[in-house]
């Protein structure tokens, strides 16, 4: 085997050793080619019949030692057994059929052998990055000029629409603000109204009339009460409640004396 041949099983005489190394072959065709090479003749003149016998012997040997064989090995064995029977039959038509099949097999072996040689030829060439090396540190004189802007009106319009739509999408739901009557406002209103209403009227009379909802009225009542208590503390008015949960009444501050 020449040194440029791809690594593979060497051309050993077929026999037990070959049987044990079946796994080293890539398939039945690979083994057949190896056996043919063993004949040491031009592939065009190999004896197909002896090749068939050698293959069948190897398969038989493998079975004897109960080696698990993949289906394609057995399919090839069956086909070769058929081929052998054709070639040996005393029937001229059968022999012709067998010879045609043998030619096909020989051609396949030649094709494979050619491609093996082609692979060897390639492998023997100095390969870039293996035997020969290109410039390791290439220089690039290409200058990328990014100074220009790629602008077009459709892009501008897309941008405008995207901005407007997004802004619209960003408007969050805000519940309408409650107009709560603050203590400050209640204080101001109480002070302004003191003296304009008769003594001991209900605190509710001091609420602004504009308040609509019950919740606003209750909030206003609360702030007005706080404001009233504040004013009562300073003596500016008096508050009176005659029964629990009864109306709160507002009176003028007591006149001195």
């Amino acid at each position: 085997m020449d040194s440029t041949e791809p690594d593979g099983p060497g051309p050993e005489p077929p026999g037990e050793s070959l049987v044990l190394r079946l796994e080293g072959f890539e398939g039945p065709l690979d083994l057949l080619l190896e056996l043919a090479r063993g004949q040491k003749v031009d592939l065009a003149r190999i004896s197909i019949l002896s090749l068939v016998e050698q293959y069948l012997a190897v398969i038989e040997g493998a079975r004897r030692i109960r080696l698990e064989l993949a289906a394609d090995w057995l399919v090839m064995a069956a086909w070769l057994a058929w081929l052998k029977s054709r070639l040996l039959l005393p029937d001229a038509a059968a022999v012709e059929e067998g010879e045609q099949a043998a030619d096909v097999l020989a051609a396949r072996l030649r094709d494979l052998q050619e491609m093996r040689r082609a692979a060897s030829w390639l492998a023997a060439r100095p390969q870039l990055g293996q035997e020969v090396f290109a410039r390791g540190d290439p220089e690039d004189f290409t200058e990328i000029d990014r100074s220009r802007l790629a602008l077009d009106v459709p892009g501008l319009l897309r941008g405008y629409l995207a901005a407007i739509r997004r802004a619209a999408g960003h408007v969050r739901y805000r519940p309408p603000a409650l107009t709560l009557w603050t203590v400050q406002e209640a204080l101001g209103r109480l002070q302004a109204m003191l003296g304009r209403l008769p003594d001991w009227v209900s605190l509710e009379r001091y609420l602004p009339a504009t308040l609509g909802s019950p919740i606003e009225r209750r909030a206003a009542l609360a702030s007005t009460l706080v404001a009233g208590l504040e004013l009562a503390r300073g003596g500016a008015l008096r508050l009176r409640q005659e029964a629990p949960f009864g109306p709160i009444l507002v009176g003028m501050k007591q006149e001195e004396g």
Binding site: F133, D137, T142, E143, L151, V153, G159
Partner: protein, 172 residues
């Protein structure tokens, strides 16, 4: 055939991805090789050619002769796109000019970064156009003639009307 050491040194410096230091060279050449004279011979071989042997940080390197660089240079134009935020801002200025920064932010529904304003200013697409007579007197922004030229517009009137663009105004 050139001197064997010279050939080896030449090949190594050529094939290396990084500058070749004296240690790598010494590793390659037999012990009896005189490194300095090999380097000197290599430099002489390339002197005046299109390629020069130069000494850079840490070792030797081939570089194309500096005087040839302008001839070898190939400029590839790769126009860049404006980032989305810049394009949107530009569009808003185009349609609402003159417009203040807070107004742009209000329309976009997002804050406007200084980098975006700067990029548009740098590209000459927008320019300040006076100040708004309102508290703080904010700058008013408008598009420039360069803006029209870049977009191939003869005037702002070439832009589609807002009504045609926003057939179904959002938020309405």
């Amino acid at each position: 055939m050139m001197d064997e050491y010279l050939r080896l040194a030449e090949a190594l410096v050529f094939a290396s991805a990084a500058p070749v230091g004296p240690r790598a060279l010494a590793q390659l050449l037999p012990e009896d090789a005189d490194l300095d004279s090999v380097i000197a011979a290599l430099r002489a071989r390339y002197a005046g050619s299109g390629v020069e042997l130069v000494e850079v940080a840490g070792g030797l390197q081939f570089r194309t002769a500096a005087d040839l660089a302008p001839r070898l240079r190939r400029v590839v134009e790769l126009p860049r796109r404006l980032p989305r935020a810049a394009m949107e801002t530009l569009a808003i200025i185009a349609y609402h000019q003159p417009v203040t920064r807070p107004e742009i932010e209000e329309i976009r529904g997002a804050s406007l970064s200084q980098a975006t304003v700067d990029s548009l200013l740098e590209a000459g697409l927008i320019a300040p156009k006076g100040r708004k007579e309102s508290p703080g007197r904010p700058t008013l922004w408008a598009t420039t003639p360069a803006f029209l030229a870049q977009f191939g517009l003869s005037g702002l009137g070439d832009l589609p009307r807002r009504e045609d663009l926003l057939i179904d105004p959002p938020g309405a």
